[in-house]
Structure formats: structure tokens, C-alpha cells
Point group: C2
Chain length 294, copies 2
Amino acid sequence: MTLFADRLIDATRRHGPLCVGIDPHAGKVPALFGGDTPEGIEAWGRALVECCAGTVACIKPQVAFYERHGPEGLKALQSITRAAREAGLIVLMDAKRGDIGSTAEGYAAAFLGKDAPFEGDALTVNPYMGLDTIEPYVREAEAHGRGVIVLVRTSNPGSADFQSRSLEGAPLYARVAEAMAPMAERLKGRNGWSGLMMVTGATGPDEARTIRDLAPSSLFLVPGYGAQGASAAEALAGFVQGPGGLEGGVVSSSRGVNFPDGSGEAGDVEEWKSIISAAIAQARADLRGLPIPA
Amino acid sequence: MTLFADRLIDATRRHGPLCVGIDPHAGKVPALFGGDTPEGIEAWGRALVECCAGTVACIKPQVAFYERHGPEGLKALQSITRAAREAGLIVLMDAKRGDIGSTAEGYAAAFLGKDAPFEGDALTVNPYMGLDTIEPYVREAEAHGRGVIVLVRTSNPGSADFQSRSLEGAPLYARVAEAMAPMAERLKGRNGWSGLMMVTGATGPDEARTIRDLAPSSLFLVPGYGAQGASAAEALAGFVQGPGGLEGGVVSSSRGVNFPDGSGEAGDVEEWKSIISAAIAQARADLRGLPIPA
């Protein structure tokens, strides 16, 4: 069994840190695919997966956008993520679950278990309820070579309300990061990185550096790049020099690569794919510090 | 439109504060109903709803136990909650969702929106990401007369890891409670109670009293009673004297009324129902300080 951390870092060394969100925002899926219906979302998401295959390390669907359409929307999620995994893409399920004991076990089984109905390579989870509520995900991840992504410092303005305030002398987000250290050890791969990942918003590069010091082995999932306003340099603040350049996690982009200018007006799927692929190529190059393709 | 807070307090004045969890734990649904399958869960949950109708104020399904079974499990959740609402029961969706901006809007639409696929009267949400992530739920609740239930101090041992530690001079859970005050005003009913509810675990009666002082109008959702070890008196610590006795929220019980002794061995549905109804009657009486029925 190749551990999640090893698979993810290998993929980012090959393709760079870009993680493509697959987030069918209300009213945004082009009519070309069937619009804002479960069928439209499925066709759109699978086409997006085709643009990602062989080009990026991973995808990250926001489960909310599928849940909004009820069980049929969740079938679309299954179809898209299965296609992605078959295409060799790593799937980070962005569901931000969190609950106690047996309930957390239920969520862990749903996303990280053997034969999980919503099978992902990793799942985002919320630490507010405490370490015993993270444990069931870590256990499931250990058993099946998967990852757990803990919210630490998020990219939204509201991260100032609680996360950035001082909890017994250090910001709450830092307390969360330091508390996760023993769990991070348990999900460490051969390459030294851990599949106990941490969400560190690109809008807080100083905070990302603080978290890197507290959690040197944790891979980061960095939201907030692009549409939310942060630059590539800010997104990569918590990364470190690796054999082939900066490494240490993935940077997600959704709106910028899901709905780039002109994509809503594409006349057919091939035209749409060329617009999407160009947007992905641009984000990839930006995050690797390369010249942006013409 | 009757506001959620008015509907809930009226129901508890009539039936008492018991809220029945509908939590199909792995391997616990009796073979009588079809066992641990989507069909078994649906039949079991609908039978449980029949035992609750006209007897208790509300039910609370844990979404994790349905998600575990994929889209078909979530169809069972839809069937059970529709039956409950048709029977006049208030449905508190326990999904503990939490995310930023448009993603939170997706979850709010899924559970609290007009024609929501998983329509509930209220939804549990996680405050870690900040006030801007709670706002979309409050807006949807205002528009449709629903409620929002914020995690404040949970019932598990891990609540000590972050919630109980001092954030700038007061416990994090108290900071969360005080920060919610303006939102609580917006969901206030005619009776003075607010549908911006707070989760306050029965295992922390002192904490519940602290939260009551900080949030005098918020109705409480109190987990941890019964199977998790807290007594009725502890569960009601944050309640206040109302016209007909103690009031100010609901106390949930799951395992004790979902899987009481003997229920797994019932020979038929009628026998099972009489065992379940007796367990519900016992919890109801216990929470009202009445002699327990023989």
C-alpha cells in the first residue's frame, strides 16, 4: 500500500502543486452540459476531469455543491470522483465534516472507509470539537492509506473571529496545529511528509509560515489563491525547498479554472475544453514560477 | 409564517423537551426492518417516527449515519424526515456543516432553503471558521422561518482540547456564545426565544449556565443525556422557569430510545413499537421530573 502522503508529494513533484476544485456553483454550469441539474453537473464535472488528467496532481470537489441537489447530486459526485480516480487523479473530498465518536465513524466510513460510497483519497475535517473527533478519520486513513485534512487557518475574513485570537498565549490556529503533531506522525510517508494535512489559507502567508514551523511534516492544502485574491507567492508561503523546487502541499483554485472568462459562451465541448485547459495551464505555470503560456 | 423559535417552544411546552435522535448506527437496525441497508433504515426510521408523533416535540437525525450508505441512504433520510414533518414533528438536521461564502450557501440551500432536498426546520453548524460562515444559514433561516443551531460547548471529552481553553480571558465556547448575540436577535420569536440555538452538552452543566447568561434568548440543543452519562438535572442546567415549568431548549436522546434493551429481539413491529414507546415515555417523564411510567 503506497501511503497517501507519498502519492500526493510524488504527484506534485511531477505536476506542480495545483489542485483543481470541481465546484458547480448555482447557475454557473454552462447550458452546453445541461446547466444546473444533476445531469448537467455530472457531464460538466467529468469533462473537467478530462482536462485535469495527466496535467495536475489532484482535484477537490466541494461536497456542498452536490448536496444542494439531493441524492441525485451526490450520484453526480460519485460519478465525477470515480472518473477522476480512474484517470489517476488524487481526490480530496472537501466536506469539512466533524462530529463525536460513532457519528464521526459514520462520516469516516462514508468518505475514507473500505468501499466508501463517496470514496476520496483524503477528507477535510473541522477540529472545533476536539482531538477525539479527529481520531476516527485518522484511524480510517491509517487502515486504507488515505489522508485527513484538518482546518487550521482558513482563507475567509471570519478566520479572525476565533482562529487568530489568542488561546492561552498563541493563536487558536497555532494551538490546533500543535495539537495535531502526534496524529501527523501516524500518517507519515517514506518521503517524510505526513498525510495529516492542514488547511492554511493563502490570504495569511505569515500564518502559513508559523504553521509550517509547528507542523514541519504536514502537507498543506492552501485555498484562497486566485479568485479569493492571494498571489502564487502568498499561496506558497508555507512551502519549502524540495528536490525539484518548492514543495509541501497543494494550492487549490476553483472559480478561476472552473468558470474562466469565455467558458460560459463556448459553442461546443471541445471549445470549452480548450478554454479550461488554457486556464489550468496558466494557473500551473503561475504556481511554478514559470512564464505563463500564451 | 410562524417562526421556528415559536414553533419549537410551543411544542416543548406541550410535550416537554425530549428530542428523539434517529441514528441508525452500523449494525444496530433490527433484522425485523431489513437490517443495516438503506431500505432497513428507512423502514426503521419511519416506524420510530410513528412512535414519536404526538408524543415528543422534535426529532434529530444524524446525517452521518445516512451518508454512510451513499445516495440511497440519503433517500432514506428524505423519506424519514418527510414523514416526520407530515406528522407534525419538528426536524433538527444534525449535519454540523461549516464552510465559507458560496459553499456555505450551498449547504444552507441543501438543508434550509426553499424546496431544500434535505428539508429541516433547523440545521447544526460549526463556528470554527467564523461569523461570515454562519451568516448564510441565518439568512436562509430568516427567509423561511427556520433555525440555526451553533456548536458552542459539546458533550465529548475532546471539548476540553480547544472549547474550554481561555481565548483572551474567557473560554472559547463563551467567546462563540457572545459572538452570536446579534444573530440571535435576528431569529427571535414573539415569545422572546431565539431560533439561533446553541449546542451545550449535558456533560457540562456549569458551562451551560455560563452560556445561558451570555445568550439569554437562545434555545439550547443539549446532547449527552442518557447513554453519554449525564442526568436529567444536568441536561436541564441551562433551562429557566417558564409558564409551565423549566424551558429553554430540547434535550436529545438517541441510543437510549433508538436501541433500548430488548428492542433488538422483538418478534414483530408491534412488539418493537411498544418497547420503543416505553423507552420514549420513560425519557419524557425523566426530563419533566415526573414519576417514570411502569
